[in-house]
């Protein structure tokens, strides 16, 4: 059994250490602050208090254990009396069936009306998910609004593009790849002018931008849930949870050598939703 002085000494030291740390913390703060010092000193200052309190609770408190009786839940009589109190008060409501029904209708109506501000929270979906900003003849630009020419990328190149005037548009983001000219057609794909192919960058699984391109395997790889899209198979998913290929943007090289879209995507881009096929 520890003696009285030694019990109190540990507690006193804890509080003393805490005090010192708090002073040091104040100094650090006055001198401009530093995150690691702030955290460490705050930790010591709080920890000193913690140790002091717990030791006090352990060593200097009246020795337990103490016992207390549980009450049972409200007796049956009490419970019945409570129900009866409620029912006797409700009597004046009980015989007024017609009034109660009118009240119910009024409350339902105001409840319904009160929900209408929810409609103000957002625009109606409409057809906005079915279209992007790509239009026939829209020229491709990078995020810096630089036009993309047929000689911008080398074979194995990869860049994110948008329709001119809409750089940064979330639903119109497109990955532009340059394959070996002729290889896409040879693999059974459609047209790839000078080796360029363009797909929607929005993963058809959960909408993440597909930022990883591996020329060696011609794969587009989504970092969120590891869906893999095979470029040579028109970006069909070959691994992971994605179920649909990335929509392909039909493109061509215009007379001035710029890459342009022939039309918008043939289907909605991005992840699925209820009426997607309508």
């Amino acid at each position: 059994m520890r003696s009285e002085p030694s019990k109190t000494r540990a507690i006193a030291i804890s509080f003393g250490v805490s005090t010192a740390a708090s002073v040091a913390l104040a100094i650090v703060y006055l001198m401009g602050g530093q995150p690691q010092a702030e955290g460490a000193l705050l930790g010591v200052s709080l920890g000193g208090l913690a140790v002091g309190f717990v030791l006090w609770g352990h060593r200097l408190m009246p020795k337990g254990p103490f016992t207390q009786n549980r009450e049972t839940s409200s007796g049956r009589a009490e419970r019945a009396a409570a129900v009866e109190d409620f029912e006797s008060g409700a009597e004046s409501l009980e015989r007024r069936g017609f009034l109660r029904r009118m009240l119910a209708v009024a409350l339902a109506a105001i409840g319904g009306a009160a929900l209408f501000p929810v409609r103000s929270l957002g625009s109606r979906p409409g057809r906005s998910l079915y279209h992007t900003q790509w239009t026939p003849g829209a020229r491709m630009v990078t995020i810096d609004d630089a036009l993309v020419r047929a000689d911008t990328l080398e074979v194995g190149g990869f860049i994110t593009v948008f329709p001119e005037g809409h750089a940064g548009s979330a639903d119109s983001q497109v990955v532009l790849l340059r394959l070996t000219p002729g290889s896409y057609e040879a693999a059974g794909g459609g047209a790839a002018p000078e080796g360029y192919v363009a797909f929607s960058k929005i993963c058809t699984h959960a909408g993440c931008p597909i930022g990883l391109y591996e020329p060696a395997t011609n794969s587009l790889f989504c970092p969120c849930h590891q869906s893999v899209f095979a470029v040579m198979e028109a970006a069909a998913p070959t691994a992971g949870p994605a179920t649909r290929p990335l929509p392909q943007l039909p493109i061509e090289v215009d007379d001035n050598g710029y890459l342009v879209a022939i039309d918008d995507f043939a289907e909605p881009v991005g992840p699925g939703f209820w009426g997607r096929g309508r």
């Binding site: 994110t160 394959l179 990883l212 591996e214 020329p215 060696a216 970092p223």
Partner: protein, 267 residues
Amino acid sequence: MDRRLVAAVVVGAGLILAGCEYASGDLTPPTRAARGDLAPASGEELYRADCAWCHGADGAGTGRGPDLDGELDGGAYTHFMLSTGRMPIAAVDQRTDRREPAYDSTELEALVEHVVGFGGTGPAVPMVDPGRGEVATGALLYAENCAACHSTTGVGGALTSGQIAPSLQRSTPVQIAEAMLVGPGCRAGDPDCGPGDGAMPVFDDFSDHEVDSIAAYVRFLQSGGDHGGLGLGRIGPVTEGAVALLIGLGALLGLIRWIGTAVGEDT
């Protein structure tokens, strides 16, 4: 039960540590020094000793390795592979991960010159000066082009089929520029290693200033950025969650075990 439990934990921990060692892979390349021949050699001698058996006598390639006189080959690609220690490799299907370079700078220069002499039409070793670049510009370019594979924090990430986008923690400015120019990472055993055959895309449409800036930003990532304390590998919520559960909750479990009693203990 006690002793067996301890034994199981020790074996388990040992397995995990062994896995770490294996995965960290600081494999020793087959250098001439390792083989015991320390006399200085010319580029041709080095090539014949370490490279020709896969890449062919005049860089024409063999069944074991691609040619070195193609469209991408030249100073940049060769210097990149050698200075990052990715080449030479001892076996055809060995992973070409970053290792300690097998050659010192003189030997490296000689080898690069020799390979350039094969006639490849790829880019030369680029000149990069991060001091001329701007960190802020580099940050923007990095986020737009590099972060998706190499992570915003520069620690790299997984690609498909066992390939990885490596960490940039030890990349020099020249190596960064070279990688952007050639798109390295051809698959082991792949007979071709030309444009579009690498794990990394080709990013050669950048001005010198932009490349300098990207290099400046990568240099910043290497040396600074962890203002909040220990970086925990800069992997993000995965390691943060592990620390919160194991260290945070773990410490607090210890704390309440100290404060409270167990079954059978007195208050």
